[in-house]
Amino acid sequence: MKHFHRLWVIPTVLIFLLAACSSEEAPVSVEQTNETILTSDKEEAAGTVLIESVPIEPVPYERADALLDNIHSGGVPKDGIPSIDTPVYAKVADVYDDYDLKAQFFVLELEDAVYLYPQSILVWHEIVNLDEHGVAVTYCPLTGSCITYEYPEGLDTTFGTSGKLINSNLLMYDRATDVQISQIDGVGLENDLTGYTLNTIPTFWADWADVRDVYSDGLVLTDETGFFRDYNRDPYGSYTEEEGYNYYRNDGVIFPLMDVEQSATFVDKHVVIGIKEGDERLALNPSLVKDEDIYYFQVGDAKMVAAYDETIDVVRVFYHEGEETVSLESLLDNKTPNYFEVMWFAWYAFYPDTEVIK
């Protein structure tokens, strides 16, 4: 006890040593059981950027500089929001009563199965890498956008979070090339991936009350993520409750936007369906489609149709060349454009020249 007063030196030195050693690219453990969390070889490699020779030629992208100039720190380090690299799933029947009926889920329909991602988990991780399918489910809570992207063609990669934002929107990075890609924009901003447009797969927001019955064979992402988080608490507010602080419902945006003059077409957090077709951009009000069931429109030269799917209360968008007397069922095999739900302020900040269907 004589030298007890010197003990404070130990934690101080250790903290600074550990802080100095802290790696933003530290490997993460992912799979967990009731007693332990296991780590596979794959996870050991995750988070490490291995610059690959890229079989992709960069193409001119005139917006790249403007976007790069508008990057803001989100206050967290690279991969500080850890992506889920080995997702663990449960059957719907096994978690049937585990969620609030109004709990939000992201629905991804792939050939082998329908995957259901609880918003309450993705709000802490923002990216789920599905290596075996070559896609990543990405979610930005600040802009309310959930988009599933295919990895760049020919790259053995995964996506991570950069800790930065453009227009309050998640700035991802490709781990094979360390290239940054804005989630809403979905186009490579640097080096060999400059101008590379990621392909999307439609992903929908739906209530647990609907998806648990419609997709009774679906697979639900569990909270065995390899990280310890309070998955019962959403740090930004709540989609199920009106009371208390709530980023999703209040006015205001935390980070600066590229287009300062905001549009009054919708309130900031109103959700629109953003559609991209070539250089054309369109914001479609989903309420309109829900009222009309089927809605025909055009983006640039492309004819499209939006159909209300009442089974899970979502709007689906398809290319459509035929007659204007179709049902949702007859459209399901049609090709789909690049579209996703997003808060109006963010869509407008990226694309101020967007067309709007109110």
Binding site: L18, I37, Y245
Partner: protein
């Protein structure tokens, strides 16, 4: 260092100052750990313990400024979840020590104004202001989200400022100790 040694001797002979400062400092440390999210109060049905298998890598993985990943979780019925984040535990110990010394000096300055010539107001500031900063850094995101409509463009600046609150608070606590010790007039 001689002033520090003298002060330690002084505290040994005034155990009530030691006890009060120690109690408050430990309470402060626990509150810091709770506000950092490593102690959570939610319903737990049965005891469960979870560990990461690569603790050395995970323990030094920073999730936010001065917040590191936890390597274990203990779910204790009926409503405790305690997470073990080694680096933040060390940080908590450091904060407890610094707050303890600040409070000891503060109490001494209040109870023995002739021994410690810090004015009461200065003493209070030295002890309380850094402590507030540390606590505020953890609940800052909630505050920003609550008042984002009012804060407007200042919100993003606040996010960056909050990242520095813990190192600033540590610096201020150290300054408080140095200032307190230099104004001591103990004779042993």
């Amino acid at each position: 260092m001689s002033r520090y040694r003298n002060f330690k001797r002084f505290i040994k002979t005034h155990r009530e100052i030691h006890r009060m400062a120690k109690t408050i400092a430990i309470l402060y440390g626990v509150l810091y750990y709770v506000s950092a999210g490593y102690i959570q109060f939610s319903e737990v049905t049965g005891y469960k313990q979870l560990f990461v298998s690569n603790p050395l890598n995970i323990a030094v993985k920073m999730r936010a400024p001065f917040l590191w990943e936890a390597i274990a979780e203990f779910q204790v019925p009926p409503f405790f979840i305690i997470r073990l984040a080694p680096v933040n535990l060390l940080l908590m110990l450091l904060l407890i020590w610094l707050v303890y010394l600040n409070l000891s000096l503060f109490i001494t300055s209040v109870r023995f104004p002739r021994v410690c010539q810090l004015t009461r107001n200065k003493g209070r500031l030295a002890a309380l202001f850094p402590a507030l900063l540390t606590g505020f850094s953890c609940c800052a995101p909630t505050v920003i989200i609550m008042f984002v409509g009012v804060l407007g463009a200042f919100s993003s600046t606040l996010v960056l400022i909050f990242a520095w609150l813990i190192p600033i608070s540590i610096l201020l606590l150290v300054i408080g100790i140095v200032q307190g010790l230099t104004s001591l007039h103990l004779h042993y």
